[in-house]
Amino acid sequence: MSYYIDEMRPLPARAAALREEVQGAVQSVCTERAIIWTQYHRRRENRKKPAVVRMAEALAEVLARKSIAIYPGELIVGNFSSKRVGGSIFPELHGVPVMLDLLRFRNRETNPLAVTGKEIRSLLAVIPFWMFRFMALRAYRSPLARIRFVADQLKAHFYLINESGGISHIAPDYEKLIRIGAGGFIAEIEERERDSAPDEVARDLYRAMKIIAEGIARFGERYGELAAAMAGEEADPAKRRELEAIAESCRRVPRGGAETFRDAVQSLFFAQIALNLESLDNSVCPGRMDQYLYPYYRRDLERGLITRDEAKELLACFSIKMSEIIPVFSSHLTNFHGGMFNGQVVTVGGVDRNGSDGVNELTYIFLELMDQLRMRQPNYHARVHAASPRQYMDIITGMLARGSNTPALYCDESIIAMMTKNGYSLEDARDYTGVGCVEPVSQGKSFSSTDAAIFNVPLCLEMALNGGRRFGHLFRSGARTGPAGSLMTMDSVKGAFEAQLRRKMGDLIRDLRAVELANRRYHPTPLTSMLIDGCIDAGRCSTAGGARYNFSGVQCVAPADTGDALFAVERAVFQEGRYTMKGLVAHLKRNLRDQRVRLYLRNLEKFGNDREETDRWTLYVIDRFGETLRSFGKNTRGGGYVTGLYSVTAHEYFGRITGALPSGRRRGEPFASGIAPESGMDRFGPTAVCNSVNRIDFTKIGNGVNLNAKFDPHSLRGDEGRAALQGLIQTYFRRGGMQMQINVLDPEMLAAARDDPALYPNLMVRVSGYSSYFNDLTPAMKDEIIRRSLYQC
């Protein structure tokens, strides 16, 4: 049992106390961003300004007026919200649907959030202003199209366009911010204004960038003043010195370049807060911290300014602060993004821009911290390559075998190969980090809407088998394809499936492009643009294609379920002749009530058992999805649409609304997560799963892959268990695997945790590329995690 409990190794006392404070804090809604943002936009004089300037001024005003606090014992300061652990509301993004959920925040079953009556009233007061101004409504001009899109998205049966909640999903160029500070950016922009002849768009952008650069510089100084004032009142000399050190650092950064390691961490944390308030507070990722912080650490060590333990304490303080933010999702969105997850990725290890191994002392400090802290955020990733140091690999696999469930592992060779094939330069590819769940981007250079949309693939098969209608529906919602009886060959089944896929993915891309343009037009992101390479040069906002790299990710949800269903059709109808096509579809419509039929279908071979004849159907689905996506050309920022094979928690939601499948899965049951086999269908254990998954051509999966490998703690015990795990991971990667996360789960314990949430309040599980507290998941997700933990090697 000790595998799971946080107290595996003692933490430094300060960090332990801070963590306790943060974990014990009530998760709350913060109204400040919504209210200040609205007040700014209501002011008449602001309405005429260019959108990009409005964004910069509104954000600067939030940073200037939001309440700030320095909590006892902190070394790194800054507040995402007015609450110790809180989340903001973005009324102009998906804010209005969220706010309509307001009255239920306190009492809902999953992710309840504290909010006072007064706060609710003040939030309700801003709704009218945004009622017709939020993003999803702005995607379309015609009222009918608006209503259609908003209504579609509230149901989200075929797809969900996350981008209508903003884009984010960036790994900002913190290296540069730390080095030159906001003041350095202002100087650079002024120089560019002088030397080039910027057009009007660029002039507005530069103006906006300078406003927000000044805004974040002032934001830091507010903390400097607060710390100085608190120091003046502090009686305890040790605490006073601490506050004075904070004051000194916050006066320097982020306005100026960092002079010390502490400055560097503090500077990036202020930017981290500001970026989370600019657009969607999702997946703003510090990325490769061990790489860009290392020069500061080494210099301070050499100058005798810091010890290893002090550096570790600072990073612990930073790491804990990253858990002070939560997303405020409506219940609807919680279906897709369960687990109170902001997707702030910190990546360690891997090769540097020249291709040599980048592991350093900070890497090891981070590894210790992720093992000891085991908190929801940041989302820790570790990069691995053939020449990763032995010690690095041993520590990571040791942690994972003991049940840390973090970090998630990424393979340099496969990911760099994929990125260069997709158009990244070799150096930029080597400098990748994951953002969000599993999506690789180049640090400081990509503005990829990696979580642009998620797509329900099995529903296309349902319609393909039923003439373009969903089971039980009178009206056709898909393409016009023949009725079940007319599908006389496997080729005709494939043809119908592909027609449905083209139709619905076409719908998705049409909506997505409208949302892309709405983001560009109504919600430019000047701060993000300043911190993403290319935007200043191009004089274009990141939302308008200013960044170096501009992909959009569309997630292929449940390829294995779809592939298994197609295999079952081939086997049952066209090879064994057990049922006619019509008969099979009739059974499906009756939700496989007949046990004989259901068990027969369920017991057919499934993806994940290293059987070519079955696996090829899942490969077919992935391939068709990718080709269809490619056929739509470029997004409006000039980048390609790329496939992602991860599902966050959408496989559970999409499963709930999709009918029975020929794979023997009944209506409403969850789909498989990411690229994993269907729950309990991997009969031969993880090596066979890897053999199956390794058949995928990962160079075509531009938006990342999530493979969840589940183990019971028993099988990974001891050093042999750890070594076997290491062998498994390295072999999977050597053969082209991109990502793997290791879950060590005990089903009995999970069931106990489900029945009595108080039992293991801090139990962490990896959901889909990220960790979540088990208690933060929906009941259905909990059941799914338990179910998949039951079937193990």
């Binding site: 046990q595 004989r596 039929v597 068990l599 027969y600 017991n603 290293d610 031969f684 254990g685 993880p686 090596t687 066979a688 890897c690 053999n691 028993h714 099988s715 990974l716 015990r717 001891g718 042999e720 268990g721 070594a723 076997a724 290491q726 062998g727 498994l728 390295q730 072999t731 050597r734 053969r735 090697c793």
Partner: protein, 307 residues
């Protein structure tokens, strides 16, 4: 009862399971092949599927949904719609019922493989073997019961550079082993009891041949690892441990692996038409393994405990 001899098979192996990602069954990530048939009848045996050399039918009443597909398809009229369902005296093991059964409640245990076909199964995880220092474990049943098949199969494994571990109860003709020796990388050798009479009582055969083979193997140059399943009330007494330790020292063996007894056999046994006498043993007491371990340590042996 007298165990049957291996049927004379010309390079056909009968295997009842191939398990990938076997950990703690030898070094690294391994694929374990379970050969069917065993010359011993250990009364605590957890794996009745392993007893007979021939294929047999296994029927699980719990999984059966009583749809009678099996009744419909059986060409031999061996299936009836009643509680017993299968009349083994008429069954020809044609497998039709297993194929038709939607619930997989009935299945044929044991599958015939040519060396090439088994190689294809065993080689699936080859990349993982080399990545983890693992390989293939030949287990059972008693793999030596199919030594002629092994004589064809092991060279194929070796040709692919796969590490081979043989698990044996030691009851085989030495001549069968001689030809295999060059191919084996490691032998796990199970000892049940040091006393010939007790051995006969609990396993159906004496231990003379077994000890003789342990001596020969120890001298053969192939690494041998003795192991002992610790069975409460059968072989965990001080006297047997002292005698076993003395034997091992005599053969120059300094390490013993101890395996705890798990009470798993009963559920499986009910599914097979299995006549062998089964004894319900007490489950392992807390700390019992530690106690046995300490006794061996006192005798000067190094001990590795399995869990």
């Amino acid at each position: 009862m007298e165990p049957k001899a291996a049927p004379s098979l010309q390079e056909r192996g009968i295997v009842f399971d191939v398990q990938q990602f076997s950990l703690h069954d030898g070094p690294g990530i391994r694929t374990t092949i379970f050969f069917k048939g065993c010359p011993l009848r250990c009364r605590w045996c957890q794996n009745p599927e392993s007893h007979r050399y021939s294929m047999e039918l296994s029927y699980s009443r719990d999984r059966c949904i009583r749809c009678n597909e099996c009744v419909r398809v059986c060409p031999a009229g061996a299936v009836r719609d009643d509680e017993c369902r299968f009349d083994m005296s008429r069954c020809t093991l044609c497998g039709s019922c297993a194929e038709a059964c939607p619930a997989r409640a009935v299945r044929v245990v044991g599958m015939e493989y040519s060396p090439e076909a088994l190689m294809a199964e065993a080689g699936r995880d080859r990349d993982f073997f080399s990545g983890s220092g693992g390989g293939v474990t030949l287990s059972g049943g008693e793999p030596m019961g199919q030594h002629r098949f092994l004589a064809a199969f092991c060279p194929m494994l070796k040709a692919q550079g796969i590490h081979i571990l043989l698990e044996t109860c030691g009851h085989f003709e030495w001549s069968a082993m001689e030809g295999l020796l060059p191919f084996l990388d490691l032998v796990y050798f199970d000892l049940k009891h040091a006393d010939d009479g007790a051995h006969r009582k609990w396993t159906g055969v004496g231990n003379g041949l077994i000890l003789e083979n342990l001596g020969r193997l120890s001298a053969s140059g192939v690494p041998v690892q003795p192991r002992m399943p610790v069975i409460p009330g059968v072989n965990d007494g001080g006297e047997n441990i002292a005698a076993t330790a003395a034997l091992l020292r005599g053969y120059g063996q300094g390490v013993i692996h101890l395996l705890p007894y798990h009470n798993l056999g009963e559920g499986k046994r009910r599914q097979l038409d299995s006549p062998s006498e089964y004894i319900a043993l007490e489950p392992m007491q807390e700390g019992a393994m530690e106690r046995v371990k300490n006794l061996f340590v006192e005798e000067g042996l190094d001990v590795v405990l399995y869990r």
